[in-house]
Amino acid sequence: MSGSLLEVRDLVVRYGPVVAVDHVSFDLSAGETLALVGPSGCGKSSTAAAVLRLRRPDAGEVRFEGRELTGLDERALRPLRPAMQPVFQDPYGSLSPRRTIRDAVAEPLRVQGRWDAATGPARVAELLALVGLDEAAHGGRRPHELSGGQCQRAGIARALACEPRLLVLDEPVSALDPSVRAGILNLLSDLQERFALGYLFICHEPALVRHFADRTAEMRAGRIERIGP
């Protein structure tokens, strides 16, 4: 299993007395999509948060590209964070309502010290084009001036700006219209092919993942009951 992008072993997340994630284990390779499906409240999003270390797990191991993350403190984790990016369910809530799309996509470059005044704007335009947005038409808008699908695309562009190898997609299309969903799912497939991204795809509708995922893990009450194609 040394070739795995992500290895999760016996992950436990507790909220007080409630065990939200109960000894969950799975692997994910580069270029692969693992869907995590289950009813609401079964611990899918808690698993995602723990994998991304947006929440510290109570027990277990998360190895990303062979490196153990759970023992690292915030400072040691920071340089590793760009490689694993989240895409959230709420397209509007995951972008700052006060910033333009252009700023939002440029922000990871600035934060990570990769911003260059000469090439930066072109890089932002390139990223926006990657997700099917036009810099001139959409770059100057704020999230609430975009449709849900466009906004989710901007969120994906922002994640791509980090040059990630793993995307944790937390119900990325659940908030969108069925007609828009297909577009986003196609975009995600194209991007996966192009950059060999690993996807941890969280979803509560099994029908949605059937074609999209390579493997599916069914979660119930904090446990993975079955993993299979």
Partner: protein, 635 residues
Amino acid sequence: MSGATAEGSARHGLRRTAAGLRRGAADLTRTVGSVRPGTAGADRAPRGGRGGGHGTRRWVPGGGRVARAAGTVGALGVVLAVVGLLPWLSGRDPALTVLRARSAEQEATPEALDAIRADLGLDAGPVTPPVRWAAGLLRGDLGTSWVSGTDVLPSVVTGLRVSLGLMGAALTVALIVAVALAAPVLVRGRGTSGAFAAMLAAVPEFLLATVVLIVAGVWLGLLPTSGWQGPAHLVGPAVALGVPAGGLLGRLVADALPAVLGERWVELWRGAGVSPARVALAALRRALPPLVPQFGMVAVGLTGGAVAVETVFAVPGIGRTALGAATSQDLPLLQGAVLALLALGLAVGALAALVRRRLLGPALRDAGLTLPAAPARRVAPAVPAALAAVLAAVIGWGLLRDPYTVDAAARLAAPSPAHPLGADGLGRDVLARLGHGAAATVGTAVAVCALSWLVAVALGFVPRLTSGLSDIANALPPVIAGILVAAVLGPGTDGAALAVALISWPPLAAHAAALVQEVRASGFLLAQKAIGAIPGWILWRHVLPSVAGPVARHAALRLPGMALALASLGFLGLGARPPAPEWGLLLEESRAYVERAPWAALAPALALALLAGLAVALSAAARPTRTTRRSPHGG
């Protein structure tokens, strides 16, 4: 009709989805149940999530109530400590004042002053006197007045008895006004604009008292203008004190009723043939309990208003006693009087809580009895704009003139081309003093406002501290704060500004704390963390901008209210000193000549009324802004 309903419900559905989405994103970090149940429960309750988390919801209100009670007790402790430490806090030597007050002839030799200091216990340091005072308090001994040398307790009891009578009468007036304001809503079944009630609630007591005094007392001769001899003496002060309180009460009820009358059960009852009177009664019973805690504000307002009204009508009540003690630096008497005022406010507040418990019964335990949100009321922006324009024109004109030149020939002159608003008792131009006074009052208010904003944004990040301190601020009317500060610093513009700042920042800080919490829980901050942003970047680039702007707008909307508070302190002699042209002070100075030169009093009174109107119009205009800010999804 059906189309509109469908659209409405569709929009409602959308909003619910949006709320669900936001919650979903927030769930990534937010602890769901027992770790921070206060926030989780509070978030959930208004969204009508009855299904989830009954276990947590049950103890949320209990925990909140305990914290709230602890906060109130703590707040009371802080105020008591300040009152007890007053003689030491003031840091000045009152020995000379006391000497002069006791015997005008005695020579102010160092020995005599030392003797007085020893007598007053001023040489004992910061610890002994408050401890001695607290110990005396437990025995029912409030100490001895520095000025008159008599026991404080009898003066306080006498004043309290008068004030209680006055407040009883004022409450009666308030009740009549409130019923008059709420009755049309009940009868017609839909809301009124509420502008009139808001206007009544915003008129400061000292202004209303002066107007009642001028109109009913001086011009019409219907009421005695001062003193406390019989029922006739009760009417003026009771009206001045009761009408603003009634305006506030009536507005609260009239605001809540339309939403209650729009609830399903009302339709059902009407359909079943229940009489309109019974429906109205039931609607009142539904609307009142959640409002009762807010009635505590009325109690606080009454204690503060009592100081002003008793002063205007020369009623020998506890408020006037407190004010007199503050201006003459008679600290033991001030301690006793402020204590009595606070106790009065607390007692009425406790009574309100008791009434609420009786009305609600077991529903209180579930905290499930929230009122439907009052429909947002829009005020045409033209109203505040027009008020501001009139004020600005008058002020601008006045600023061009000289407020200090004394023209003896023009003493109390009627309005004329030379003096468009007449002249005051010293022959100074009223218009000029009005304009320059605005610069002083509003200028100070702007400074206070900016300071409050800074403190609020800084402390918004420490919500625990903020909630405790805002309890103190809510329990302290500006006048009492002004009295306390004046007792420490001596009366003056700085002291008045400090007093207003002290009670202005906590509501702003509470707003800031709510915003900080909202931003911190939002998904895009998580995304920040995920891209590897350091906490400083997140704070500076994302949290601060989302907090500073809205709180600044909130602060700006409170500006006229702050100016009014400053004016009321000036009026009571706790703020700006003569000959400064401050609005409250202008009104105070011109009261003496009101029979001969009513225009000198009417000009500042009208200006203050305009300011009050501006405050109301702005606060109403503020509401839609706040709702759009609440929803990050915009249109």
